[in-house]
């Protein structure tokens, strides 16, 4: 069935499944099948901010004072974050919008992807401020094997879903040969790839991003690159909301309350989905190896980051009721909670100065000779 930007049929949108039902017609929110998505939209809108509001001028000085291997850690981490948000800024729109059937979910997807484009603009803001020549960092993304290795795994489900949807919407069901590969396109195979794509997005936002946040905050723990950390804190707040979004979608799918066939699909794909998590854990560990290849930094090294990877993976897999054998129960980076806490996020321009701003503002060392010119 061809995609249409305005479905002219009369139907009750509250009886549609989240995906692969009727194409959405009227964007109305007075009646909703899953009101949670509107709550997510409202929350996301309340988080709006612009990266330029955060002053990163001190970061430039901090960056110059970092050692060579610390700069490698900082820039590689930023390159990885740029890759993740480049993918997330466009892919939910291209992959999910053509197959969505609920107006509130459609708008959530658009709101979600829009916030990711702010993240991408944030990285440019940071890099432009700390380096005289920013293209080296951006050009380096597609030249670095360690990044490309992960890019393939991050995007392959998205790409497959997009390709199969295009075939389905133009040719209908059938077996097609694309680039020498035979692909069976049925509603069932589409639902399978949609489920797996959603899992891989959850892995991206709930696991991969958090590993990169740990690296950003490790610098700020040493009072370095604090402007960067302030921006990452805002991004982390958004990602916490996005991962809640994909957890809701995945749990709704698995429950069968939304689409009974999706429950069967979720069960069939359970092992494959679990392995998306487990593969990502191994990849993130390999990434830790690459980050710290020339040396560790105070407060963070390969071993601790690997423990954190297992710890956060266990948290996320538990939320989706996926079994795992990670035994890391205690958070190996306890300071992460304070950095991730969105309670104390401040975006008002006069209040976003780096925390170190106040250091040295009060001169507490007084000697008696300082009162010499003081008369009553």
């Amino acid at each position: 069935m061809n995609y249409t930007t305005f479905n002219q049929n009369q139907f009750d949108a509250t009886k549609e499944p989240m995906f692969f039902g009727n194409y959405v017609n009227v964007s109305r929110y007075d009646v909703q099948k899953h009101p949670i998505f509107e709550k997510l939209i409202e929350k996301q809108l309340s988080f709006f901010c612009r990266p330029e509001e955060v002053d990163v001028t001190q970061d430039r000085k901090d960056f110059l004072s970092l050692s060579e291997h610390e700069r490698h850690i900082f820039l590689s981490n930023l390159q990885y974050q740029t890759l993740l948000d480049s993918v997330q800024g466009r892919s939910p729109n291209i992959a999910f919008l053509p197959v969505v059937s609920l107006p509130e979910l459609e708008t959530w997807i658009e709101t979600w992807a829009f916030s990711e484009t702010i993240h991408s603009r944030s990285y440019t803001h940071i890099i432009r401020n700390i380096l005289p020549e920013s293209s080296e960092v951006f050009d380096g993304i597609v030249d670095t094997d360690a990044i490309l290795d992960r890019a393939t795994d991050i995007t392959k489900h998205y790409d497959q879903l997009i390709m199969m949807t295009q075939l389905f919407q133009t040719q209908g069901e059938g077996t097609f040969t694309v680039n020498g590969q035979s692909t069976e396109v049925t509603l069932r195979t589409l639902k399978r790839i949609l489920y797996l794509t959603m899992v891989s997005v959850n892995v991206l936002e709930a696991l991969r991003f958090y590993i990169s946040f740990a690296c950003s905050f490790a610098f700020a723990e040493r009072a370095k690159m604090e402007g960067n950390a302030k921006i990452i804190k805002l991004i982390a707040r958004d990602e916490a909301l996005h991962l809640t979004g994909t957890q809701h979608i995945l749990n709704l799918m698995a429950s069968g309350n939304d689409d009974p066939e999706m429950e069967v699909v979720a069960r069939e794909c359970h092992e494959e989905a679990r392995h998306i998590f487990l593969d990502a854990v191994e990849q993130e560990k390999a990434w830790a190896d690459y980050l710290f290849k020339d040396g560790s930094m105070i407060g963070l090294n390969k071993e601790i980051l690997c423990q954190y990877i297992e710890y956060i993976a266990a948290q996320r897999m538990d939320a989706l009721q996926f079994s795992h054998s990670f035994s890391q129960k205690q958070n190996p980076l306890p300071w992460m909670n304070a950095w991730l806490n969105s309670d104390n996020v401040q975006v008002a321009p006069q209040e976003v100065e780096v925390s170190s701003y106040l250091v040295g503002q009060v001169d507490s060392e007084l000697k008696s000779n300082e009162f010499e010119n003081f008369t009553l």
């Binding site: 949670i36 709550k39 997510l40 929350k43 982390a236 707040r237 916490a240 909301l241 991962l243 809640t244 957890q247 809701h248 749990n251 948290q315 939320a319 009721q321 129960k329 958070n331 306890p334 909670n337 991730l340 806490n341 969105s342 309670d343």
Partner: protein, 92 residues
């Protein structure tokens, strides 16, 4: 009226009504994971074994059945929750 919260064989009285359950637990020196403290990230979720909690803010995060989000709820009755309490802590 004092409410008793039991977590991993450690019990304490929850007297201050102005605190969220998360703050009350932290007040006892017990660490609970958290991120947003506003009910949307779901990180602080704990398993509720017995009793009921009341949400003062409607949580947005996905909460599996029998779990609670302590950052945005209070308890009005005795409850039992699953969690890990440092070994050096003894019941009051």
């Amino acid at each position: 009226m004092s409410i008793i919260v039991k977590i991993d064989n450690y019990s304490f009285m929850c007297a201050d009504d102005s605190m969220s359950l998360l703050e009350a637990i932290e007040d006892q020196g017990i660490d609970v994971e958290y991120q947003c403290r506003q009910g949307f990230c779901g990180l602080c979720r704990l398993k509720l074994v017995e009793g009921k909690v009341t949400y003062f803010d409607e949580p947005i995060a996905f909460i599996p059945e029998n779990y609670i989000l302590p950052c945005c709820c209070k308890t009005k009755e005795d409850i039992v929750i699953e969690g890990t309490v440092p070994k050096e802590k003894t019941s009051v």
